[in-house]
Symmetry: C2
Subunit: 141 residues, 2 copies
């Protein structure tokens, strides 16, 4: 996690009552898999993130999670949902909600820019032990 | 509110675990100011809507509300927040969160396509009496 990667503490306005340009925000991030909060809605956060390559399989026991692709192509492998396809493919302007408790693995084809929407405090690598892929929460941009 | 406007009851999967093409969904709506739910995340809903012209001043006492513009140009007048600009201007790829309790009036410059994110049950015209601008909730597309 490069310390030079721009981030800031939560602003007083929580990113509300202002125009947020998602493309401009995500373009300012230097590293991959390093979510940055841009705004809060009640106890939920909007986070932009740049992705490249495969992430780890994980799940969030207590919450659904939303992926909205801003640029590029994202695949999300899904495990254990007989009624769902085993892999979701998302391009710019497409979104998917992963239900709580469902194991999933995001995979970026090339560089992908994504808007994540989930409750404050969700750990990117899921419940349980933290790994080298675990990102620090509440870093704003 | 044209009865021919396509809508459906909530699907069993609540729009989860599938790819949702926001542009395709919103293009299938026939009327303006008629939100259609495309997915749920916990007790929140993602709604697509086509806007044209001015809406009414209103507020939601209990919840923040998010506007993400998919196409076109949306202005949102804001009342009573000294620290905020009195008008937000949003184009495609830009979003804004209106805080709970804050009076606001969306105004569409031409036809605008928007993704709304807010808790299930929020009334589009705000708290209080229902008007001819009040849309029925929980209509899916």
């Amino acid at each position: 996690m490069p310390l030079s990667n721009p981030s800031a503490p939560a602003p007083d306005d929580r990113g509300q009552c202002k125009t947020i340009d998602l493309g401009r925000k995500v373009a300012a991030i230097e590293g991959f898999w390093q979510p940055r909060v841009v705004a809060e809605m009640n106890d939920y956060q909007f986070k932009v993130v740049k992705l490249e390559g495969d992430f780890v399989w994980h799940a969030h026991a207590d919450t659904d999670e939303t992926f909205l692709v801003l640029d590029g192509e994202l695949e999300i492998d899904i495990r254990g949902v007989p009624s769902a396809a085993p892999m979701l493919s998302l391009r710019a302007g497409q979104m998917a909600v992963v239900p709580k408790g469902v194991e999933h693995r995001p995979r970026a084809l090339g560089e992908v820019k994504v808007l994540l929407i989930e409750p404050r405090g969700v750990v990117n690598t899921g419940d349980g032990v933290r790994t080298e892929r675990t990102a620090q929460n509440d870093r704003w941009i």
